[in-house]
Amino acid sequence: MEIFGMSILELFPIVLFFISIFGLITANNVIKSIVYMIILNGGVITFWIAMGSRLGRIPPILETPYHLENYFYTFADPVPQALMITTIIIGFCVTAINIIMINTLHRKYKTTDWKSLTELANKETEGGYDHTLSDVVYEIQDKEAEA
């Protein structure tokens, strides 16, 4: 099945990638941004997996030497698969840290809207003070200690 001279398997990850980049730019809420990052990750992984399955789609698990002889040219490529497991774990780490960072910001500014978050953060840093996320955590901790 082909569209524009490309098979759907080649087209699908590219469409995913561009849709998620479009969403990352236009999303006005934090949760949607993180969701689009997950989809972007999925697009990249699909691209590599689809590339590795061009010769064949048999999982590269060599049960017997007989199996290897018969199916050698129809095994999927094991190299991108091993790399993509790494990508999935790193993507998960990024998602977890993203959510906790946004949680810290929400604790201080009480909103998850990008525009109001940016305005509130800009108001605080007018004096040129470099405001890191750790500072926000310490600030909240100090306030809670006082109260």
Binding site: M1, I3, F4, G5, M6, I8, E10, L11, F12, I14, L16, F18, I19, I21, F22, T26, N28, N29, I31, K32, I38, I39, G42, I45, T46, F47, I49, A50, M51, L55, G56, I58, P60, I61, L62, E63, L68, F72, D77, P78, A82, I85, I88, I89, I90, F92, C93, A96, I97, I99, I100, N103, H106, R107, T112, D113, K115, V137, I140, Q141
Partner: protein, 319 residues
């Protein structure tokens, strides 16, 4: 008709539902569905290991999302909506949008895949030599635990750093939860008893994935996430909030050091090594011991890391 095309169609359907949905809870659930469907695409394309990792991680990330949504919107989380996609963009935003649009259309006509055959040297070498060099029958496991063990090591280090970052950023004055609070699952008897029946099976499945990682699909990461899912079930049915999170975090760091020590064993499992020259008949045993040890250490480390992440997030929700 290939099954992959049907799965891709379903993926695109769930993606369009994510784009046009405004209710927060539904966005999160559609993301879970998308993750599951795309893992089926990987399975159909001949990569069961990646499919397992993606499905497990997609299911796990959903919990964090729901916790975050509960925290952001409080009691109204189930009805909360997020505003429409903003139409006003600055000049830079318009330029980038135009660039993306043009790039997306151009991408339809560019053939990203090379027309000539790719160089298959690395693939063939791994397929032919993995059994002799590293042992086991799963070539992906051989690459992760043998050829690229140091790569895996630093990936594990990244997970440790992520866990520490989450611990640091979620640390406030009410750092722990007092015991005595009950999970909401206990109200629903059907869910309560079904989780009780399923949870030991999940643990056995996770251990099976770790122990058989070198001869079949699976491995340390996938099995570790399954074992971590057992701890979620335990949280739901046993009413335990005061788990020793700090001890588990220390244990994770110790396991990481042990994994670095196991990486040194790889010197002795090669066909050029001292072991092979003196006892060639015992090489397979050494290889299997190394693979099982490395897989179990990675599995334990991932399970510990996910356990700590889950309990930090639950602490946030209950604060």
């Amino acid at each position: 008709m290939d099954i992959v095309y049907i799965l891709i169609f379903l993926c695109m359907a769930s993606l369009s539902m994510i784009i046009f949905e405004r209710r927060v809870y539904r966005i999160i659930i559609y993301t879970c569905i998308f993750s599951l469907l795309i893992s089926l695409v990987y399975l159909a394309l001949g990569s069961p290991d990646v499919a397992m990792a993606e499905a497990a991680i997609g299911a796990y990330a959903i919990i964090f999302f729901i916790v975050a949504a509960e925290k952001y919107y409080g009691k109204d989380a189930r009805k909360a909506t997020i505003g429409p996609t903003s139409k006003k963009n600055g000049a830079i935003g318009k330029i980038i949008l135009a660039f993306i649009f043009v790039g997306g259309i151009a991408a339809l006509f560019i053939n990203f895949y090379p027309q000539i055959d790719a160089n298959l040297y690395l693939r063939n070498q791994y397929l032919l030599r993995a059994g002799d060099d590293v042992g086991g029958q799963n070539v992906i496991g051989a690459i992760l635990m043998g050829y690229r063990l140091y790569d895996t090591l630093f990936e594990a280090l990244l997970l440790v750093i992520a866990v520490m970052a989450v611990g640091h950023l979620s640390w406030f004055s009410k750092d722990y939860i007092k015991s005595g609070k009950t999970s909401d699952v206990k109200r629903d008897r059907v869910a309560f008893y079904s989780i009780r029946i399923i949870s030991p099976l999940i643990l056995i499945f996770g251990i099976y994935l770790i122990m058989n990682g070198h001869i079949s699909a699976g491995g340390g990461f996938q099995g570790g996430v399954a074992v971590a899912c057992f701890f979620i079930c335990r949280y739901m049915i046993h009413n335990i909030y005061d788990m020793p999170v700090n001890k588990v975090l220390k244990m994770e760091e110790l396991i990481f050091v042990a994994l670095a020590a196991v990486a040194i064993i790889t010197v002795f499992i090669d066909t050029n090594s001292v072991v092979y020259q003196n006892f060639p008949e015992h090489l397979t045993t050494f290889q299997n011991i190394h693979l099982i040890l490395a897989n179990s250490l990675v599995g334990m480390k991932v399970a510990c890391g996910f356990f700590v992440l889950f309990y930090r997030y639950i602490t946030i929700e209950r604060m």
